[in-house]
Amino acid sequence: MAETAMLRKRMSVSASESPEELRPPAWSFVPRAFAPLLVGTVVAGILYFFVQPAIGGFGSNLLLFAGINIILAVSLTIVNGFTGQFSIGHAGFMALGGYTAAAIVYYGSFKIYGDASFHGGLVSWTGRAGGFRGPLLGSGDLLFVGATVAGGIVAAAAGWLVGLPSLRLRGDYLAIVTLGFGEIVRVVLQGTDEQLRRYDLELIRSTPMLKLMNKLGGALGFIGIPAYSTVFWVYLWVAIMLIVAVRLKHSSYGRALLSIREDEIAAQAVGVNITRYKVRAFVLSSFFAGVAGALYALQIGSINAGELGFQRSFEILIMVVLGGLGSVSGATLAAIILTALPEVLRFVDQYRMIVYSLLLIIMMIVRPQGLFGVREAWDLFRRRRPRGGA
């Protein structure tokens, strides 16, 4: 039979290849692993040293918020876009990270320097008053970076907790649980004790750090935090976030997440431990949300849980959907657009929010798949995408 012969031929094409030829040379590891990060650092440096002075305070203010929103939107993309788990409590993670970092930096500064003013270095310098003095990579920077990571870790731990129910709950039910979680975080943070102030220096010094963690300012919010986040730090984190998200998406790991989104039963049938992946997606995503919260708190110098309720979560969700569910570049672009839009709309005055909401509805109707659909900006320029190792 002719077809059978052809089939046999097709079967035999696969000459066995030695696995060793697939392995790249060892020296290539370092550039492959870190080149994008280096590029990111350089870009962040350029933004900080050259672009920021050029665009002035207002522009760089927007630049900062855009960066923070990018981190939030892309991190939510990991859960909502890649894994298909419907989460609308992202602001809760942000709040946790923000308060944690704020408390560490604020109370830490008192413990270390005896006051809560700025002790930064070159890349934390916002040029706020006077000239820059102090060490090049000031000690305050280290505290700040540590606090940011700690904020991420606390949020990630919460993400783990929230990820657990996602094993049992589907779709809208999970959504409402994450929403409930976010609201609980908000209410609890709003119910914390009053912040200790500089008059209480001795008390701060003598109280262990963990005990200070319930003195987070209550209704007023946590205030008077030295503002370390600068364009440099924010965009360094943006770079890390983007690298993580893109590498994740174009890897087996990310495909496993995508397969959960597509069909959980089929995913299991090809060996994906959906439990583990869902929880990890939540943990990873909330880590970065926590980092974003930390950057936010340490940029404005205060953070208020009252503003980080589900409405804030919705804003982030809107960025994700507008960008195209699962599209990293789309979420990034949407974050930038939605940060700038309210400012662009200032000219319509009291109708601003009305125009904003109308635009939102219209955008959803004319482009339901989002800016880029599930694809990435760069896919639009390429016909075929030779991805992976090929």
Partner: protein, 261 residues
């Protein structure tokens, strides 16, 4: 039969049962697949064939009985663990990753054997690159074999039905299983296509040295390709034997075939 018992069995099912409420969907189902077997599972609609597959692959947890894959007991394990043990399947109602590309669907299967963790993924270690290249190559080979390599960039949901079925098989094969369960792989194909597919299935079995268990309603096909056939009705195994025995079995004729084919 007794000659099939031993360590060399790829799949050994003993007396698995499940009830849904009052309904006993599968009762004391037993089956043994030696290497290279190509067996059939038939029965009227609602007999419990798909449910039997679900029991073997861990979608449902059996109420009783045991399942061994390559000598390893798998009943009670999670579906993904059973997949790792070497059992792969296709679904009666096609379950592809619809939004993903055809190639990605197969890669999803292939990644099971070339694993590496999150740090490796994020840092692109040598092991990761190697694994990823291996997955990619493996996936493309399978697409080639199944004859859908030309559609690798399309979204799976946009493939015609028949190609979707082929893609499901490719994805299952990519997990490098020892046992492959096919649930009505030829449904919705015309006789010619069915014929081609069956050739393909036979060749796959030879090439990958698999044991295959097949659910199918097309008797011509089942009888011509399967070496042994088990017949279910109302969850009970009413007959098992080679095609000619089955075709002659009055119980089977009454419950399923209607009249000799």
């Amino acid at each position: 039969m007794s000659d099939a018992i031993g360590d060399n069995l790829l799949l050994d099912v003993r007396d698995v049962s499940i009830r849904f409420g009052g309904l006993c969907a599968v009762n004391k189902f037993s089956l043994a697949l030696p290497p290279g077997a190509l067996y059939g599972l038939i029965g009227p609609n609602g007999a419990g064939k798909t449910t039997a597959f679900n029991l073997l692959t861990g979608v449902y947890r059996p109420d009783g009985g045991s399942v061994y894959v390559q000598g390893k007991r798998v009943d009670g394990l999670k579906p993904h663990q059973i997949a790792h043990a070497g059992l792969a399947r296709t679904f009666q109602n096609i379950r592809l990753f619809g939004e993903l590309s055809v190639l990605d669907n197969v890669r999803m299967g292939a990644q099971m054997r070339g694993w590496h963790g999150l740090p490796g993924t994020l840092l692109r270690t040598g092991r990761y690159v190697k694994a990823e290249r291996g997955i990619d190559r493996h996936a493309r080979q399978l697409l080639d074999i199944m004859g859908i390599a030309s559609r690798e960039a399309e979204q799976a949901k946009n493939l015609p039905y028949g190609d979707q079925r082929r893609l499901e098989i490719a994805r299952a094969l990519a997990t490098e299983p020892k046992v492959l369960l096919l649930d009505e792989p030829a449904a919705g194909m015309n006789p010619q296509e069915k014929h081609d597919l069956m050739q393909l299935i036979r060749l796959i079995r030879d090439r990958f040295r698999l044991a295959i268990l097949l659910i199918e309603h097309d008797m011509k096909l089942v009888m011509s390709i399967c070496e042994r056939i088990t017949v279910l009705d109302h969850g009970e195994t009413i007959a098992a034997g080679n095609p000619s025995e089955i075709q002659a079995n009055p119980k089977v004729i009454e419950a399923y075939l209607g009249e000799p084919v």
